[in-house]
């Protein structure tokens, strides 16, 4: 798993200085996989089957002058996957919690997603609330103001996005990274703590614990 660790490091210099682990959570069909795909490939998938288990994507972005590699785990929203997908929460630096602005039920379930996220991540994990499908204004079922208030009450950052048009998708991933980077700079996020969800590249080749979930040493894979 740890492409970032070990053997390749001596040969190829990293073209990024940090790795942040993200998870994307929320009810089925809210557009989690489409958000990931829009972010990594800049494409929209109109007809997308339910995720089986988890999907994975990466992209390097620049935030506050730093190149950061995001490693993103997109979890399946269908109930039968939920118990096991919880093991992917551990060691996430960022959690994007998504609902669908056209389906109130997906908004009503947020408190249960939030409870899981809080219980299974660490106190420094940045939880970002995302109201997706904002292109479907005519079918809107949850107002911006209402969700904004929920976010404020729970100390979450919040944005409305459209994985279809691409609106604010980039911002959601980047702003979460900015928050994480800030907590590294102000010292509240301890990079040496297990499960911080962050790896600093130039010095630490061997710290892959936040990625493997378990600290098994792994081969490098250049991805």
């Amino acid at each position: 798993m740890a492409s970032a660790s070990s053997s390749s490091s001596s040969v190829t210099p990293y073209n990024y200085s940090y790795i942040f682990k993200y998870i994307i959570i929320g009810d089925m069909g809210v557009g989690k996989s489409c958000l990931l795909h829009q972010f990594t490939e800049k494409k929209f998938m109109a007809d997308c089957p339910h995720t089986i288990g988890v999907e994975f994507g990466t992209r390097i972005i620049e935030v506050s002058g730093q190149k950061i590699k995001l490693q993103i785990w997109d979890t399946a929203g269908q109930e039968r996957f939920r118990a096991v997908t919880r093991s992917y929460y551990r060691g996430a630096a960022g959690a994007l919690m998504v609902y669908d602005v056209t389906r109130r039920s997906t908004y009503n379930h947020l408190s249960s997603w939030l409870t899981d996220a809080r219980n299974l991540t660490n106190p420094n994990t940045v939880i970002f609330l995302i109201g997706n499908k904002c292109d479907l204004e005519a079918q809107r079922d949850v107002t911006y103001e209402e969700a904004k208030q929920f976010a404020e009450e729970n100390g979450l950052a919040f944005l409305e996005t459209s994985a279809k048009t691409g609106e604010k998708v980039e911002d959601a991933f980047a702003q979460a990274a900015k928050h994480i980077f800030q907590s590294i700079q102000d010292g509240s996020l301890d990079l040496n703590a297990a499960e911080s969800g962050v790896q600093h590249k130039p010095s630490g080749g061997s710290k892959s614990h936040s990625l493997t979930h378990d600290s098994a040493p792994k081969e490098s894979c250049n991805c």
Binding site: S3, I52, F56, Q71, S87, T212, H213, D214, K218
Partner: protein, 151 residues
């Protein structure tokens, strides 16, 4: 992408789903398909190949004997498990069976790409598919087609 084949399950989770599975067998004589799938999904992500093989057996049992509606889940993790123990041909066979049920499924085509890349790296490309595997593949595709028609 390779991460899907390389991340490992936390031991505590493996143990947790193992006990859930065993408890159900003890109390009900047989585990629910949910408990069996959860346990198998953890097993195929273990760092030990013996665990992965056990997970594959549990998934094969689910595929043959349980819910029609979750066949794609079983096929996908059968493909992951086999790829992790370097049974690449078998893995590809399951990916193709999954693509029969859900043509163009992106997770399946992505995984296919990863597996083929691994085979290339291991110098396995161009190796003939042996008779047995071809036969099994034929049988699975049959199931896939039957499923696709029954929709």
């Amino acid at each position: 992408m390779d991460y899907l084949l390389e991340e490992t399950v936390p031991m505590a989770d493996l143990k947790k789903f193992e006990s859930k599975y065993n408890d159900e067998i003890q109390t009900q004589g047989r585990a629910s398909s949910t408990a069996q799938f959860e346990y198998a999904w953890c097993l195929v992500r273990s760092k030990y190949s013996a665990d992965i093989r056990k997970g594959i057996l549990l998934l094969e049992d689910l595929f043959k004997n349980r819910d029609e509606s979750a066949k794609q889940d079983y096929l996908y993790y059968l493909a992951i498990g086999n790829a992790r123990i370097k049974e690449y041909q078998t893995s590809l066979k399951y990916i193709r069976a999954l693509l029969q049920i859900q043509p163009g499924n992106r997770q399946a085509t992505d995984l296919e790409g990863v597996v083929k890349k691994k085979m290339e790296r291991d110098g396995l490309v161009g190796m003939a598919v042996v008779g047995g595997a071809t036969l099994a593949f034929g049988a699975l595709v049959g199931v896939g087609i039957a499923l696709a028609k029954s929709k």
